[in-house]
Each structure stands twice: as C-alpha cells, then as structure tokens.
C-alpha cells in the first residue's frame, strides 16, 4: 500500500500543528465559532447532537494493521469504545472532545492518517472497489489511480472552494462494486483493443434529494490523461456549477440542466487546453505509484482445498460463512474475506475498540497486513490463504464478527440517523436493528437470497436508500418518524434509482412492511435463482403495492 514520503509526513505534520493552534485559539476565545467552523470542517470535525464528531479519511478504504490498531486505541482513549465505518470507506468517532482532537490527529499522523477533506466543498475521499488488488475479475488495481487523484486533490488551491462537495470513485472490474454511477465522477478502469489501460468516464451521478445516475461522457480515456481530464471536468463545474442554491449546487444538477452533449463539449474543449501540458502523467510516475500497490508475494498454498473441505464437513456454520462471506481471489489458493459489521441486531458499521484490535491482529497474522473498509460498511481481509480460512473464522467467532450475512437482507447500509446526526429527521439504526432481528434466521436470509437494503435518516441519503433494492427514507411528519419505502434501486453496473412505492410507514409499521415486501417477492419469483432486484425489474411495483396497500383501498 501507499507509504508517506517525506513530503507527505511534513504536510500532515504541518496541518496537525496548524489545526492544533486553531483549536487552542478557539478554546481561548480568540476566534469566534463563525470563524472556526470552516476551519474545523476542513479537518473533519463536525458538531452533532451529543458531541463533536471526527471523520477520519481511509484513502480508498485501504488500511494496514497498525492503522486499524490506532483507530482502536483512539476509540478507547478518546471516544466511547467504538467507531462507525462509513459509506465513503472512512471511520467516524461520535464523542471526541474538541480539546482532545489535536492529540487524536497527532496519533493519526504517527500512522500516516489524517482527517483532511473529509468534509467541506472540496474533493472528498476517493473510493474504490474494496476487493481491489484481490478480485479475480479486475483488469488492474484501481487504487494507484485513486492515490494519484488523492495527491492531486489534496488542498488543491483551485478546487478547495467548489460550489459543493465532490466525490470520485474508481473500479477496476466490469462488475461495479464501487457504485461509480452514483458519484460526481465515476471511473471504470479498463483496457482498450490495444491492451492499454484507461477509463470510461462517468459524470453527474449522485444521491441526496435529487438522485441522478451518472452519464458516460467518454468511453476510453488513456491513463496518462487522468488528471488533465478530471481538471477539465472540475473547471467546468467550478465555473458553471450553481452557488446560489445549495440544493442545486452538485455537478449532477449542472449536467442535468446543461445536457450531456453540451457539458461533454465544454469539458472536451477545456481538456484540449490542458491535455498536452504539465498534467499529463508520465509513464514512470504512474508505475512508481503502481509499485506501492504491488500485491503481496502469495506463495502457493495448495493444501487449502483439502483443509477447506475437511473444515466444511466439521462445521456447518463455517461452511455457511464460507459460502456467504468469502469470495474468489485471483490466486486460486487464496480468498477475500468479508468481515461483517452487521451482527444480528447490531448497529451497521460499528466496531468496538477490541474488535478493531483483534481484526488488526488477524490481518497481520493471516492477510499480509492488509485491510479494507467497504462502502457497504464492512471490513475486508483481501488476501487470505484458503488453508487459513478456518483459523480466521474461529478467531472472528471469538470476537462476534463471524455473521455469515454478506449481501443478505441484514447486511444493511445505514446512516447514523437521528440517534447522532444533527441533520437527520428520523432514526435509521433502530430500524436497521429491528429488521435485522426480524430476519435473524440466516437460513431464512439465504432462502431470500441477495437483497440490498439501505436506510437513510434524511433526504441527504447518506444511507444510499435511493440505490437499495429496498430503500428506506426516514422523514419527520407531524412530529413523528415516517418511513418511505423505495423499491428497485441498485448501485452496481446496472445502476437504477428506486421508485417510491406508496405512503410511508410509522416506526411501528416499517418492519412489517419490509417483511410483506419480502414475502411478496418470495411468492412471485420464478425460482430461487431470480434475485429480488431481477424479480422487481420483471414485475414492477404493482404486486408490491397490492400487497402493501390493497386492504386500505378497500376499507377506504
């Protein structure tokens, strides 16, 4: 993975010193809250309902053991013993004192981490496929390009005060696990007919109150042109993006209002001015960054097949976990493991200090010191020898992180919601917990099959509800929580925005409604192989509306 050079170390240290001074001046009353707010946001510090919140960047979701151990240490020493992994592959701490934040940032800097650009109207943490470097189906590892984008976008003077925040995602496989079409810029790393690397470029996706699917504006951009082309996009956005209305300020609105053809013309025209200048990436520079992401030396471990076969016979629960949470690796003797942070009835994405430390130990012992955070709020061990899977599983059982529910209905994305967030209008986590408990039986969940359920506690859609196969949006109506249900959303290579199914449900009704939707699906699917999303696309909303609301129409 990427290692800081001297420049990076000095840059982060200088920022820690600068922000520490700003915090000290704020606490001494030398600067006002209005002066301080933009400074704290630039450093990932929010004020929420109960306390400050610190959002720490995990670049493209990649961590090493030392870093995860440090996050566990911060959770214990400065917070309340846990952290919350987010859909930008970052982590949030919900209870830090402002006066402790300089010390936390110093601790983070000691392991090459920071909280810069985790908030504000700038380019946020670039996300990537959480199986990058391990996936059997990828053309190349997308993370070197995410790192190049990170270096380019960090305190970029021209792009630090954009009309609104800006999010970029990169995938290196046809199967999109990074939700690139829901991003301001989505990059699909691919090879052209000549075998050269480049990107399909998508622009103008996003969720929030106006969900939009990104439009492909270029089928193949040579890798050397990555920064010049992104600069052209950002320049057009910076110039024409609306600053008069916060709700219309994202690039998705500009793309929509300008039209794809015209905005593509503007971007291409801007790019013509830039493409042969100093932003062109020298081959040697790309390969130098590539080298940081060289895969670990994976020795052949052919004994894995026999070991897995025997362990399966020995343990049904291991076998189920293997089927659900373990995916194929490009090396046949290895696998990528999803560590579910969605224990039945638990808050999605939360991990305790001791769990973080134990997972760090596992990564060190069995996974070449590498970890990932997925945008679906789980942790990943990307390279585990199949021969070691049983040992990893047993260790996960010991720390309560062996729930075999990856991609099942209880593998829920949920924002923090009204239990923490100052913007939320309804709670998300308790709804996720109740649904998880209702479908507690993993046997039942497997019978239902792949089902992505996503919950947001307000229209800002941090819980990605628009692209959930089942999406839930919590709003406040007449002083009470009300949950709107959308169906048919998806965040993969066939991205779609879910449709609102009908009137919302109270917090007492919502779990029953979800169960009704699931039962309806089970009743109409062609066979076990027809996933929820495929069945919905085949039959549309009518049978679900009928199941949810027909009784009402009759009584009314």
């Amino acid at each position: 993975m990427y290692r800081y050079d001297e420049f990076d170390h000095n840059f982060v240290q200088a920022r820690v010193a600068e922000f520490s001074d700003q915090v000290a001046r704020r606490l001494a009353g030398e600067i006002t809250e209005d002066q301080f707010r933009p400074l704290r946001l630039m450093n990932g510090v929010y004020l929420q309902l109960h306390a400050y919140m610190l959002r720490i960047a995990v670049p493209y979701g990649t961590l090493n053991s030392k870093q995860l151990r440090m996050l566990g240490h911060i959770a214990r020493k400065y917070d309340k013993g846990y952290g919350h992994f987010t859909t930008r592959q970052n982590i949030q701490f919900n209870w830090p004192a402002l006066s402790d934040i300089p010390a936390i940032l110093a601790d983070l800097a000691s392991v090459e981490m920071h909280a810069i650009q985790t908030s504000g109207n700038c380019i946020r943490n670039v996300t990537a496929d959480h199986f990058a470097g391990a996936a059997a189906d990828e053309v190349a590892d997308p993370r070197p390009y995410a790192e190049i984008l990170r270096q380019w976008s960090s305190v970029h003077p021209e792009f630090s005060f954009l009309p609104r925040k800006f999010k970029i995602a990169v995938t290196g496989a046809e199967r999109d696990r990074a939700a690139i079409q829901t991003h301001d810029i989505g990059l699909h790393l691919k090879k052209n007919a000549a075998g050269e690397l480049g990107f399909a470029v998508y622009v103008g996706g996003g969720q929030g109150r106006t969900p939009m699917i990104a439009k492909k504006i270029r089928d193949f951009l040579p890798e050397a042109d990555l920064l010049s082309y992104c600069t052209a996009i950002l320049r057009v956005y910076n110039l024409y993006g609306r600053r008069d209305n916060k709700y219309k300020a994202r690039i998705k609105i500009l793309v929509h209002e300008t039209g794809v053809e015209e905005i593509t013309r503007q971007i291409e025209a801007e790019w013509q001015e830039l493409k042969d200048a100093d932003l062109k990436l020298p081959e040697a520079d790309i390969r130098a960054i590539d080298a940081y992401f060289a895969p670990p030396a994976l020795a052949d471990r052919p004994e894995g097949d026999e070991a897995v076969k025997l362990a399966r016979l020995d343990s049904k629960s291991f076998s189920e976990w293997l089927d659900q949470n373990v995916v194929t690796h490009r090396h046949p003797d290895y696998a990528a493991v999803t560590i579910s942070l969605k224990g039945i009835g638990e808050a999605p994405g939360d991990a305790s200090d001791s769990q973080m430390e134990a997972v760090a130990d596992l990564a060190e012992k069995y996974a070449f010191d590498e970890l990932r955070v997925s945008h679906e709020q789980n942790l990943i061990l990307p390279h585990v020898a199949r021969a070691d899977l049983k040992a990893v599983y047993d260790a996960l059982v010991d720390i309560g992180l062996a729930t075999a529910n990856s991609n099942l209905i209880s593998d829920i994305i949920s924002c923090p919601g009204l239990d923490y967030c100052a913007l939320a209008t309804a709670r998300s986590i308790p709804v996720a917990q109740e649904i998880s408990l209702r479908f507690a039986s993993l046997e039942r969940q497997r019978e239902i099959g792949e089902l992505k359920l996503k919950i947001s506690g307000c229209i800002n859609a941090c819980g990605h509800h628009h692209v959930g196969h089942i999406g839930i949006l919590g709003v406040e109506k007449k002083g009470a929580e009300l949950y709107q249900v959308t169906l048919g959303g998806s965040a993969d290579e066939n991205t779609s925005v879910g449709e609102i199914i009908g009137r919302g449900f109270s917090s007492a009704e919502i779990t029953d409604a979800i169960e009704q939707i699931v039962e309806t699906y089970l009743g109409l699917r062609l066979d076990r192989n027809e996933k929820f999303i495929d069945a919905y696309r085949r039959v549309g909303p009518a049978p679900f509306k009928e199941a949810l609301y027909a009784g009402e129409a009759k009584t009314a």
Partner: protein, 101 residues
C-alpha cells in the same frame, strides 16, 4: 414553553441553561413560560455564545408535567437522553438522568 440549550464549546456536551449556569441534563432547566422569559433566555444564550462558553444555542419547545421538563421534538429528546440504540451512552447512562427518566 421553552428552554435554552446548546453544546459546550470544549467538549461538545449537550447542555441546558439552569439556575444561572449550564447543566448537563434537561431536568432542571429554566423554563420560559412567556415571551419576556424567552427573550431573557435568548439574551443569556447570545452572551454565553459570545463568551465562547457554548455553541449552537437554541430555544426549544418543552412540556412540563409534574415538574418534569421534557423536550417536545424527538430530536431534542434524543439529545437529552443519548442514542436510543445504545442505552449505555449519553445522559441516560448517568444515575441522575436515569432516575428522571
């Protein structure tokens, strides 16, 4: 009926104005029953904000039943108690608040 609430600058703790100072629970908050009392609380909030004691100062609606102050909006009830999914955290985990609840 309204009470004055904010977050303490140094640690972000949710606080309510009570008996001439900022209390960590809503239980004994000074209740404004009329416009004049609201104005008085608002002025206190503005001063505390200007003195960098607290941030995000707001007057919020409450009810008072049998001497117990309770915020009207769910958002404010959660601020006063703690996250509903983790009863061991926030004010609700503290002995005094637990008794009041």
């Amino acid at each position: 009926m309204k009470v004055l609430t904010a977050n303490r600058l140094a640690d972000g703790e949710a606080v309510w104005y009570a008996n001439g100072g900022w209390a960590e629970t809503v239980d004994n908050a000074d209740v404004a029953y009329d416009k004049a009392a609201e104005d008085r609380l608002e002025a206190i909030g503005a001063t505390a904000s200007a003195n960098n004691e607290v941030v995000d100062v707001n007057l919020i609606d409450v009810t008072v039943a049998n001497g117990v102050v309770e915020p009207v909006r769910l958002r404010e009830r959660i601020r006063a108690a703690g996250p509903t999914n983790r009863n061991g955290l926030g004010k609700q985990a503290r002995p005094v608040a637990a008794r009041a609840a």
